[in-house]
């Protein structure tokens, strides 16, 4: 194998490792919120530094490959896609950390089971976990079609987020003393919605890398 190919193989492995870590960060953050597990939330916060370290490492790796090997065609698309996927993954991990922080910083936050059910928080959490996993599967197998569903799933996530606002508003009217927790809950939805957006960005990069298609700022249903 040529030197560039070896470099690309280890870059790919770093991205996969980072991706798995980010997946576990998001699913742990979701689980921590749903089960009010402060220890788990603290664990997520602790591992945030590991994600940041991956981000820096992958950035440097991409920069070196471009400077030293001037990749072209699929190799170039791969490095460019990785460069962007890297920063999207880091943002996703930031949001997971932000969600955990709500628990870590507010030991008193206990969310009502009723509002959690009515807002479909669990569905939303499952959905973004699924999107992240689909992205990784597509990337690992170099099969863009594995990532195709992510765009419509992102729309579903947006929809759950929008509907949750009304549910929470109604709940606050009935339970004004819980307004603070409810604002935190809106924050959680907002972060999950942003995670969905970043998953969709990642899916675009996967299509760019594998199929050389630019899907950015275009309707996604015609694929």
């Amino acid at each position: 194998m040529r030197h560039l190919e070896q470099e690309l193989v280890s870059l790919r492995q770093d991205v996969i490792d980072m991706w798995r870590l980010v997946i576990s960060q998001v699913s742990n953050a979701g689980e921590a919120i749903l089960s009010f597990d402060k220890d788990l939330a603290a664990k997520v916060s602790l591992r945030e530094k590991k994600v940041d370290a991956y981000e820096l490492k992958i950035d440097g790796f991409c920069e070196n490959i471009i400077a030293l090997y001037q990749p072209v065609a699929i190799d170039l698309r791969f490095v460019l896609a990785v460069f962007k996927i890297n920063s999207n993954l880091e943002r996703i991990a930031d949001f997971a950390n932000g969600i955990s922080h709500i628990l870590v910083n507010n030991p008193s936050v206990i969310l009502d089971a009723e509002v959690i059910l009515d807002t479909r928080l669990q569905v939303m959490i499952n959905q973004v976990n699924k999107m992240l996993a689909q992205g990784l599967e597509a990337f690992e197998n170099e099969k863009s079609n594995f990532a195709a569903a992510i765009f419509s799933e992102d729309s579903q996530v947006d929809e759950i987020n929008e509907k949750s606002v009304q549910v929470i508003a109604d709940y606050i009217q009935k339970n004004p003393d819980r307004a603070y927790e409810c604002l935190e809950l809106i924050g959680i939805f907002r972060k999950l919605e942003r995670i969905g957006d970043h998953c969709a960005n990642i899916a675009e990069e996967i299509f760019f890398y594998i199929d050389a298609k630019v899907l950015k700022h275009s309707p996604k249903d015609k694929k």
Binding site: R2, P71, V72, I74, L76, R77, A212
Partner: protein, 250 residues
Amino acid sequence: MLTIDAKNVDFYYSEFHALKNISLEVEKNKVVALIGPSGCGKSTFLRLLNRMNDLIPGTRMTGSVLFEGEDIYAPNVHVDELRKKVGMVFQKPNPFPKTIFENVAYGLRVNGIKDETFIEQRVVESIKSAALWDEVKDKMKKSAFALSGGQQQRLCIARALAISPKVVLMDEPASALDPISTAKIEELIYELKKDYTIIIVTHNMQQASRVSDKTAYFYLGEMIEFDETTKIFTNPKEHSTQNYVTGRFG
């Protein structure tokens, strides 16, 4: 009108089928790079464009090559006239054992030009176009052999430009040069594009991508892909092209 229009060209060295059904169109003031592994037929094709292969015994060609709409292999074409319009620069700098000035004046003299003022003016212009003037302006009467390899190559380019060709064919013009001379030749190609149409053979992928507008990938005598250079280097259609440009070939 197309500057070069090769249509269904087949070429044989005796029995050996060196070019297979090549069709390639080159527009005016464009740079086209020919790339492909050694022995794929790049130089053979380039030489066909100013009939340099005519000199090799036992060769045979079918198909046609048009230069500005005229068939260059038509019986009434004078090869010398053709080569005034389609000049060539070779891989190794090949200055004549003459002064720097006379090297560039050579083409004008053999074409019967006697007007010394005109010759001098044209020599200076050509050397300037070849980005060599500052380095040689004080030693025009010195031997061309006293120049460095990179300077000699630019001198050969100046010599090709002196007779005001329309097309300049370059067969690996920078392969024997250091990075600075190579960069100068590449800058030069970029400048020359304003006035000339250029077809360049190169083994250096980065060079092809830096200097050309379009790239043709040759393999085993066939032209596998011909497209915009940006396309060839970001998303080539053919798998074989991708393997070649990414260096995964063979």
